[in-house]
């Protein structure tokens, strides 16, 4: 399927950004979350550097609470000869058995995601990390640069960000500072879906409607993905036809009722939806301005 004119512009811009990120850094890495945005990012990166292999490894920060289908999808990708997939899980999370049911979302995310990401970047000595965040996802992201400067300790200070003019991206940093590069900054969720459809990009099947065991809790549907799920009194799993718009740790990811089993049906559903994408991500609303706070602490 041919790309629309504006997707061609966005595609070219993202490839340009990926190439700048690789050219301007010593030890770049791409953060890979297995989701739809990561899948688009990987697809673009392969286009940017072919016929050469990717000039950076993929890093998956595995919270150990991802959907099983995600892990399987990642392990299959790792078999591809042109990519180098590295997986890191928080040693603290493992040692202390941090889990979403006992510790809640704030501690879970700090240990398994933010702290783990920082530790993995330090371990790899990466001076630049490419990630698939988009400006339309959340309002503090609308103010984010395409090349975002992180102070030593990976913290984000919105007031210290550099002006970004034309297509000149600046990854020069002082010792200890690093850069996060966001090639999908100008894409919207609908762009992502129409691009996936047009390019035939393979996705983990959680995005497609299927009968799945779910529990209704606090007004949302949570999938019972493995036997670590802790039922509250009176709760039991029911089979519903659902899919996911955004995927993360399964206990924090709400399913939506849907019959969309193909990309065309998903895109059609997207065009009429009146609910935002991250509404299914329960971690975003656990605190006031919570995405901004997570970013300041070093989350991407």
């Amino acid at each position: 399927m041919a790309l629309s004119a504006h997707l061609r512009v966005l595609e070219a811009e993202s490839i340009h950004i990926l190439r700048e990120a690789a050219a301007q850094s010593q030890r770049p890495v791409m953060l890979y979350s297995i989701g739809k945005d990561s899948s688009v990012l990987l697809h673009l990166a392969r286009k940017a550097f072919r016929p050469a292999p990717l000039p950076f490894p993929l890093l998956h920060v595995d919270t150990t609470w991802k959907f099983r289908a995600m892990t399987a999808f990642r392990d299959r990708l790792a078999q591809s000869p042109d990519v180098d997939v590295r997986v890191f899980s928080s040693p603290q999370g493992i040692a202390e058995g941090i889990n979403p049911f006992t510790h809640g979302s704030v501690i879970h995310n700090k240990v398994w995601k933010t702290d783990a990401l920082k530790a993995a970047l330090d371990l790899g000595g990466h001076d630049l990390a490419i990630a698939g965040a988009r400006r339309d996802e959340e309002r503090s992201r609308a103010k984010e640069r395409i090349f975002s400067l992180r102070a030593p300790g990976h913290t984000w200070d919105p007031k210290r960000q550099r002006p970004e003019l034309w297509h000149l991206y600046n990854a020069s940093v002082a010792p200890g500072e690093t850069v996060r590069a966001f090639p999908l900054s100008n894409w919207t969720e609908l762009d992502i879906w129409t691009y996936i459809e047009a390019e035939g990009i393979e996705l983990v099947d959680l995005y497609f409607a299927k009968d799945r065991p779910v529990v209704e809790r606090d007004g949302v549907m949570i999938m019972v993905d493995d036997d670590r799920f802790q039922f509250r009194p009176g709760e039991k799993a029911e089979i519903r036809r659902v899919r996911f718009r955004s995927i993360g740790c399964y206990p924090f990811t709400a399913a939506i009722a849907s019959d969309a089993t193909t990309l065309a049906e998903i895109v059609a559903e997207m065009r009429v939806t009146k609910v935002s994408e991250r509404s299914g991500r329960l971690i975003d609303t656990d605190q006031d301005s919570s995405m901004e706070m997570k970013k300041r602490e070093g989350y991407f």
Binding site: E164, L168, N186, T188
Partner: protein
């Protein structure tokens, strides 16, 4: 998510400017709302926030949709540039929303740098203010020709046509002074949606388009397909030993398989053998495309070079430019920078500050410095030739950043107005005896061994030992020492920043001449800036430059201090002394890294000679 049928034919980038008081955030929030880009749960959050922070009572305060940072919502001001997206039936929009007050010049210039059109907001009660003139001047400076003047809050002026006509006429005078030619005024009441997407019943006297209709009529800025092709090279890919691909984004014209392209800086030509686009193998590529190109023969091309078709762009040594200064410390003459233009990074020194724009009168006034958020005209002398074009010809090859040579902070942004090549009438003279012939006679491969390190780290000592060893082996060498060249070649240079840059530039050129003579050049210079060493590497040429990092901790250097410089610097008798009150940037990936605490100078010199053997420099 729009409920309209989105089959957009393209993308328009729009700058919106004006202050919160003018109702700009309300206007943008309204646009997003009208296009269904506000999902229900976000609307719910908006209603919640409106009650808490809003200024509209129980009605939704659309401004809160776009103020993204917690500090902004609490203080009711917009601090930073924000990007918004919406889609109409005909195309996609990217709004760059610049705040009106704080850092307005820096934010506006940034938002305008890629904009095709600007929406300039005016409060109908206040009319054309100095701020309006500033916004218009910056839009023009940054190359935005299409300006929509949104005259808001018409409800507070009783929807009076005479108010609109007066403001329209006042702005027409400003536009004429600045040279803006495509201007349209629209009367609005953003809060209630009048003239945003549909004609307002309350302003029946207005026959022009709604704001949206006016936006839909704007054209994306595009270069003519007939313009010459320009490809700033981002990277060279070598997927295997036999093939090379040059990747980058085409900034102008059309590039076709079979076209002859020049690497402008090196003055060499080749033909385009293959073009690969994101969609696959292609016969041609257009401006804006991200391309992968193969040539019919191997020529010297690296990141920062520009492949171009005729007429070729200028290879400049000096540029005149407008510059927007963006940091608190003022810009002064003599300051050196890393200049980032296209994919090139070169060292430049500000040789003159010719004037600055008086934003109130829009006239040019003399000045010797530029303060933060001021716009000036400057001249820059470049240590390496730079392929560039006037900004009015190409935003991509005419717009540049000035980066701090230490730490890389973005300090200013410039637009090339004139580029001068002092070599315009010079041609290379062809010579029969080539560098290769001279090298062959000496049975060696000429290289530059560039020793860098703190004062008293041991550079000169080790360099001297290396030269003695090479001499004993019957090799032909030349040693250039930092202190010694200042007695002759560079005796006219001081220790100010501009002179330091020139010092290294001359040494790099002299090293290159000795290379061509077939010698192994040993250069020992503190050369504290990475950008200076990169310059020397570029002048020598790829594969002919070996960076030797003499790594001695500063405490040890201070202890050794054979010339007593550290003691003098500590006593304040020498200023700007590297290691005391001036910084040193260690090499990121030197060819040779010597730890002088671990080994004696003799052993280190021996190691270098061994390394030269392994590299085939001597045999």
């Amino acid at each position: 998510m729009s409920a309209t049928t989105p089959s957009p034919s393209g993308l328009l980038r729009v700058l919106t400017c004006g202050s919160v008081d003018d109702g700009k955030s309300t206007l943008i929030g309204r646009l997003l709302f009208e296009f269904g880009a506000v999902p229900d749960d976000v609307m719910e959050a908006l209603l919640r926030d409106s009650k808490r922070f809003g200024t509209t009572g129980d009605a939704p305060d659309y401004a809160l949709l776009v103020d993204g940072l917690a500090a902004e919502r609490e203080q009711g001001v917009t601090i930073d540039l924000a990007y918004r997206y919406f889609q109409t039936a005909s195309r996609r929009y990217i709004l760059a929303d610049a705040p009106g007050h704080e850092q307005y010049t820096r934010n506006m210039a940034t938002g305008a740098s890629l904009a095709d059109a600007a929406v300039l907001l005016i409060d109908a009660r206040k009319g054309v203010l100095p701020q309006t003139r500033r916004h218009a001047a910056i839009a023009k400076l940054m190359g935005v020709q299409q300006v929509l003047l949104a005259i808001n809050k018409m409800d507070l002026m009783g929807f009076d046509q005479t108010v609109f006509d007066r403001i329209d006429a006042d702005f027409a005078a400003v536009a004429a002074q600045i040279g803006l030619t495509q201007v349209k005024s629209i009367p609005l009441c953003a809060r209630d949606g009048d003239n945003i997407t549909a004609p307002s019943e309350r302003m029946g006297w207005y026959r022009g388009p709604s704001l949206l209709a006016a936006l839909e009529a704007c054209e994306p800025a595009a270069t003519a397909p007939a313009a010459p092709a320009r490809l700033p090279v981002q990277l060279v890919l070598r997927p295997d030993a036999d093939s090379r691909f040059y990747i980058g984004s085409l900034t102008g014209g059309t590039l076709r398989v079979g076209d002859t392209v020049s690497n402008v800086a090196a003055g060499v030509d080749a033909k385009v053998a293959r073009i690969i686009l994101p969609s696959g193998e292609a016969e041609s590529a257009e401006a804006g495309d991200a391309v992968t190109v193969a040539l019919d023969r191997e020529i010297d091309v690296s990141r920062g070079d520009v492949l171009a078709t005729v007429p070729l762009p200028i290879l400049a040594d000096t540029i005149s430019a407008s510059v927007v200064w963006m940091v608190d410390a003022p810009l002064e003459r003599g300051r050196a920078f890393t200049l980032a233009l296209g994919t090139a990074r070169v060292t430049g020194t500000v040789t003159a500050i010719l004037g600055k724009l008086d934003i109130e009168t829009l006239t040019d006034v003399p000045t010797t410095t530029l303060a933060v958020n001021e716009i000036g005209r400057i001249e820059i002398s470049l240590a390496q030739p730079l392929v560039c074009e006037p900004y009015t010809t190409s935003r991509e090859l005419g717009g540049f950043l000035l980066l701090d040579r230490l730490g890389g902070e973005t300090m200013g942004a410039g637009m090339v107005s004139d580029a001068v090549s002092s070599r315009r009438n010079l041609k290379w003279q062809a010579l029969d005896v080539t560098p290769a012939v001279r090298a062959e006679l000496k049975a060696q491969k000429p290289v530059v061994l560039w020793f860098t390190g703190l004062p008293a780290s041991g550079k000169s000592t080790i360099a001297n030992l290396v030269e003695r060893r090479l001499l004993a082996l019957g090799r032909h060498t030349m040693l250039l020492d930092g202190d010694n060249v200042r007695h002759g070649l560079n005796r006219d240079l001081g220790f100010g920043e501009a002179d330091r840059v020139e010092n290294i530039r001359r040494v790099a050129e002299v090293s290159h001449l000795f290379l061509e003579a077939g010698l192994i050049v040993i250069a020992a210079f503190i050369s504290p800036y990475r950008s200076d060493r990169d310059l020397a590497r570029q002048v020598a040429g790829e594969g002919k430059f070996l960076e030797v990092f003499v790594d001695t901790p500063v405490e040890e250097c201070r202890k050794r201090d054979p010339k007593g410089h550290y003691a003098k610097a500590a006593a304040g008798q020498i200023r700007n002394f590297t290691g005391v009150d001036a910084p040193y940037e260690p090499p990121l990936s030197p060819e040779l890294h010597l730890h002088t605490l671990d080994d004696a100078a003799d052993a280190l010199a021996e190691r270098i000679v061994d390394d030269l053997r392994q590299r085939g420099v001597i045999f």
